[in-house]
Symmetry: C2
Subunit: 175 residues, 2 copies
DNA sequence: AAGCGCATGTAAAGGGTTACATGATTGC
DNA sequence: GCAATCATGTAACCCTTTACATGCGCTT
């Protein structure tokens, strides 16, 4: 159901087509909830069937702009305010660490170095994004303020995983 | 494919039945990669078909103990050493934050308080677990050392999300 | 007129959850 | 004898990914 609410949330900002939303998802939400275009188009059809969104305008090349309906807006708000949070997190990166004992320490170190580099570069990216938002480069709308909070989480998560990878290397070296 | 390698990894420690592995998954890997028993039984059948594991002994109540084969062991090791890491992380908790602007600040604060509490309690749990491991309560095997690294990640992740939730509340209050 | 990017979709296959179902053994 | 727990599985459904498919519009 999460994708459903993600789409409603994006449409709450204003009308958009499946294509627009796909791009928006890639740009902003891919870090916390990836979604591919077939999935998005299908879910938009369902939302439309259920009356939570409706076709606003049609453009060239069969472009369909969707608009959120009143019941759709009610639905997202209710999700945000009253539903319980699903805390499940899956990380291939972390499950791998559980099995490090199966390979040679040198290979583990090599792996952890690459992981540290990856997470650090991600963290740096989000930290820079956060700083730009703080300088006001994306305006001061409510939406921007919420996005700032999400970016903070992405930055912190990646930074702490980078530090974890570093800590793990030290742990392996000192014994 | 990740579940597949997770099962092979657990079986690399020694023979176990689907039931045993389900429990083991619940206890140790649920934090980083949840798996339900139907999924596990199905994957074990496939692994057996593919010759990566084999039935070792059969016990009471149709209990089947599986044992990893040489090619199975080769397969996990190869996964760990040579395959590229999938860094995708999905978090409903974080995608929600992107849409905070849709609800009242008081509701956001209430929500963030609950989130902070949840993540902090998880963090405390894993930190305690890590401390127990450091006191040697789980022995000093290679497996324990790897698990220690995974637990460290779980602790850090949850701690940083708890801090993020706290930071977000302050951010909302100071403006 | 050719090629690129816009824009929308379908199809197939696999991953994952939830509910249902069954029977055996152990402990009280 | 009864209840709890062990132990395995099937079925139905939904979510997600990857590959395939198509046609329009703009730019060069």
């Amino acid at each position: 159901m999460t994708l459903r609410y993600g789409l409603l949330g994006l449409l709450a900002e204003g009308p958009a087509s499946g294509y627009d939303i796909t791009k928006r998802f890639q740009e902003t939400l891919a870090a916390v909830w990836p979604a591919s275009h077939p999935q998005i188009y299908r879910e938009l059809s369902r939302l439309s069937e259920d009356g939570l969104i409706e076709v606003h305008t049609t453009g060239p090349r069969g472009r369909k702009e969707y608009k959120i309906t009143d019941s759709g807006l009610k639905e997202v708000k209710n999700w945000l305010a009253n539903s319980s949070v699903d805390h499940i997190i899956r990380s291939e990166s972390l499950i791998r660490s559980f099995f490090f004992w199966l390979i040679e320490p040198e290979e583990v170190l090599k792996h952890l170095q690459a992981e540290e580099k990856y997470f650090a570069s991600q963290a740096t990216f989000y930290e820079g994004y956060a700083a730009a938002k703080d300088r006001g480069e994306f305006g001061t709308s409510k939406q921007t303020e919420s996005a700032r909070i999400t970016v903070e989480a992405a930055a912190r998560l990646n930074r702490s995983l980078a530090e974890w990878a570093k800590w793990s290397q030290e742990k392996l070296n000192h014994k």
